[in-house]
Symmetry: D2
Subunit: 146 residues, 4 copies
């Protein structure tokens, strides 16, 4: 599995009164992993939108094992789980800074939309091609569980 | 299925540059539905914490169908999907203000923790009893997909 | 001083590890007060944007006296501090649910922008007129401190 | 003026439907600048809390000049504006990635609290001493405006 790595530090604003990072923050970190993956392959998500495409979220899931605390460094490993003609699914694994302990994992599923019409669309081959080095063999195997 | 209802209005701060409510906001709305369910049965989540218990999140999932826009009123319907001795699972359905169109649905799974030791714990019967009117028959059937 | 009132309940996601509502949440509550003021006078901020105007933020300030806690009901009192041809300044006072204790107060200053050109603009008289019942006498006195 | 530097990239979740970073995000970035300043002088804010002190926010202000957009890199320059026996005031300047254009500036005022009693307290000399290299001459001059 080919993945890209991102790092975020837990913000004070992301903690809650349990003294840990609030669970909704993980969804935002997934998004950071996803946009960093795009940048890593050479086409930032900003450019993707500027070219007229949106990657709208259709599903999200996260399984939490160990909490993160304020000021912890979170290592995000992002990979492409599935790649279809009109849909993409990214997988995420969140680790401690050393990459030795997995704290959480999840996925997000998406449709490509035409930014103007807001209708589902297949992205052109030149966009697909930049992601190719990270595509799973055979388009990915659908996993239904986090 | 017995559910409780909550209403939130999409905040400007919750929108993103796609012009719709950001998908992480739904996870926060689920939390509002969950705490309103507690208040509805007569034991606010605040009191639950004050009595020494935490309802920590172990899993979250959401399936998005139709987006919400700024200033839309969101109707949240929350129910208890499963109720075990140490774990709970809440289900959520998000509708437009009239309750006629489902925009999203999802669930959150939780463990009860002792607030001091932060170890899994079974909540006492007097807490269970307040939730009983909303418990699914037979403790609920586990659904693995959103 | 004529004000409008809004109520929000502190969300769990808005707390931080100090066990109180995070200070950035107050800025979001100000925004809720401001959009409710617009709705109250009969022209929702959503409609204002649809008519082609944006109320962009140029300055914000908040003075914090007493903290809010999770599940507290916050009473927001919003008024128009200044109203110029191209700029507006709203004032906010945050109280406990009974309105007897002020927890925080602040203001936000804004320019009107044309939504298409993103240039400063004077809003037309028919928009000004709906706000007139809440305008301060003489256009307001500029206060430089929170 | 001695300052420390931090960099954040505007998250998609931080944008709003105006297509720019929401103004409340700046308050969170200020917090990042402030905690990075602590880390830079050799005493992380996490350690400060572990030693029994809280730096509670009493006032915040921000003046917005130019907006930030999604994926923009924000350069945060943080300095100590005032340092009293029980109160601190940090100043922030937000620049584009090259440091050539100031987009926003602001400040945050704080009291030191004892974490247990939640009462104002003077921090001990060994904490003061680590901040000394960044303290303004004469304890700072109070500026009342952003």
């Amino acid at each position: 599995m080919k993945f890209t790595e991102s790092r975020v530090r837990v913000r004070y604003a992301e903690t809650d009164q349990m003294g840990i990072a609030h669970h909704a923050s993980y969804v935002v970190w997934f998004e950071i992993g996803r946009t960093d993956l795009c940048r890593h392959v050479g086409l930032s998500y900003r450019e993707i939108e500027e070219r007229g495409f949106l990657l709208v979220v259709t599903e999200i899931a996260c399984r939490y094992r160990t909490s993160f605390r304020y000021d912890d460094e979170v290592l995000i490993r992002t990979h492409i789980e599935e790649w279809g003609s009109r849909a993409v699914r990214f997988g995420y694994e969140l680790y401690d800074a050393t990459g030795s302990e997995q704290h959480a994992r999840g996925y997000s599923a998406h449709f490509w939309l035409d930014r103007t019409t807001r209708r589902p669309v297949a992205v052109p081959e030149d966009i697909v091609s930049v992601f190719r080095p990270l595509l799973p063999a055979g388009g990915g195997t659908r996993r239904n569980r986090v």
